[in-house]
Symmetry: C2
Subunit: 320 residues, 2 copies
């Protein structure tokens, strides 16, 4: 009700897992009119609302939740935050088209390279597509319950839409998105180049997501052993090298910073580990195959990352 | 008794696991005077003998076995076949010195590079040290029971001793060793260069030993998946590259042959997997660290093998 009488945009959350749940709850508590599309957790969230146990913000809840089991029942949204797995992006297009207001901004809060590409061709031209890189440690501990261990920043970049060739308008849209998060107390930065921002994020995801599955280890164990530390650093260096080959300079100090930051985390098990555990498909195309293909097209081989990708592909197929 | 009245050499088996058990039993059944040194399986083998279930030779047994729990009780042996793990080579020197005849030939039936080096300095100068590369699929299924799936060839090379600078005598010793195996119906080749022979064997051991542990998979699963096949081939190519950097040419067709041969095996789980399963230390120094260091000293990085080594080191430490 409150959203209807303000000028603030209506926000839709597609996929209310750890990421969608966290950002949706924070935005709703900041006063935005937020609508949540759910599948398996619809009943639980309708009944008991959303619960966030945050090491940063404390224990927060949202109840009642504007929850929907069907996209057809949702009002048109100005901003759509997509927190589903990249492995389902193509199938998601009709849902997004259904709940998007005519000029809506769709933000894929996902890891990996070029995750927007496969979705774009299936979306109406009028929609703006953005990418969001979430620097956050969250996981789902039960239906509608999200555990937030650390951080929260979302870096946004414009992917495609009617503002693609209008730098001023493009920038305004991305800054509008960052402002939404700011109002919810969440750090957010407008990135001039989404592709580059995605390469930056890969510096963390490539080593930690994959090694958590391959070695059955969270960040604490991975950072406590000399061999895994060396392997992580070597993988990070390869991502930096791949980005450079693709024309995106990443400072060596950025990789060092990601490495040091991870040492300070309480034990964190990346999303890929949870996917593995629950026998969901791993996001290998987004995080490994596409960056490897992009680097190779630029004449750059990344042998450790390729080996990790091949090992994970074996594991993924056996796990399905 | 029979051995005492012939001119044939007395053979000692140090470490009667799958490798020592197989070759010792075959040599004993061929009429050689073979003495077995055992630890944990001494009682079982003294009582019930050795049993070989071979897909090649059928079901064979040896009973009674000239079995010993203490090296001090063994007669001096002319040939010593060492089938223990490389991880215990240094500690083995006093035992070998104790059971070796003055001019004995000591053969390390072990995988990996330079496994003789650490042992050599602790052995009497009079002993000849040789290396043996076993192309065989065997594993131990119980005390004194060996399962033999395929192959059996032993390639021998001279490492060090008083014949080191006498090519004719060196060659004669290696051929004498090969002849022993031939008399037991086992294929064996005298190799002019042990170091090169060890690099050849690594073409198989580097991918299959490590990946069996890393991916929890035997050869059938590894050869059935496109990604693991590519990874195996890439690792084999790195070993060939490392050998070349160290001055040992290995034909690309050799790697292809190892790959194709493995496709024809009934599911085989390499020794490193059994070590992992029984929480024994993995032979990482011999199979990974030393070849990597040798290649690096020759200016050659092997990134996939290095990554595999780092991952296995993490697993090995956690497993101990």
């Amino acid at each position: 009700m409150s959203g209807a009488i303000t000028q603030s945009p209506r926000i839709g959350i597609i996929g209310t897992g750890a990421i969608g749940g966290f950002y949706g709850l924070m935005l709703a508590r900041a006063g935005f009119d937020v609508h949540f599309l759910l599948r398996s957790e619809y009943a639980a969230v309708s009944d008991r609302g959303l619960q966030l146990n945050s090491a940063v913000h404390g224990a927060l809840s949202l109840n009642p939740v504007q929850a929907y089991a069907n996209a057809a029942d949702m009002p048109p949204c100005d901003w759509l935050l997509v927190g589903t797995k990249t492995t389902g992006n193509v199938e998601l297009a009709p849902t997004i088209a259904q709940v998007a207001a005519p000029d809506a901004k769709v933000v894929l809060l996902q890891n990996g390279l070029d995750v927007e590409d496969s979705l774009r061709e299936h979306l109406p031209d009028s929609l703006h597509l953005l990418g969001g890189l979430c620097y956050i440690c969250v996981h789902r501990s039960g239906p509608g319950v999200v555990e937030h261990q650390a951080m929260g920043r979302v870096n946004l970049g414009y992917h495609s839409g009617t503002a693609a060739n209008d730098e001023v308008r493009r920038q305004a849209i991305v800054e509008e998105g960052a402002a939404l998060f700011h109002q919810a107390g969440i750090d957010s930065q407008a990135m001039p180049n989404l592709h580059q921002a995605r390469w930056h994020k890969l510096v963390w995801n490539v080593p930690y997501n994959g090694l958590s599955v391959l070695l059955g280890a969270g960040t604490t164990a991975l950072m406590a052993d000399e061999s895994s530390r060396e392997l992580i650093q070597a993988l990070m260096a390869e991502v930096v090298q791949g980005a450079r080959a693709c024309g995106h300079e990443i400072a060596a100090s950025y990789a060092e910073q990601m490495f040091t930051m991870t040492e300070s985390l309480t034990d964190y098990w990346p999303s890929m580990y949870h996917d593995y555990l629950h026998k969901r498909p791993l996001e290998l195309a987004a995080i490994y195959a596409r960056p490897l293909a992009a680097a190779r097209a630029a004449g750059c081989e990344l042998p450790r990352m390729q080996a990790l990708y091949q090992a994970l592909s074996f594991i993924d197929r056996r796990n399905s």
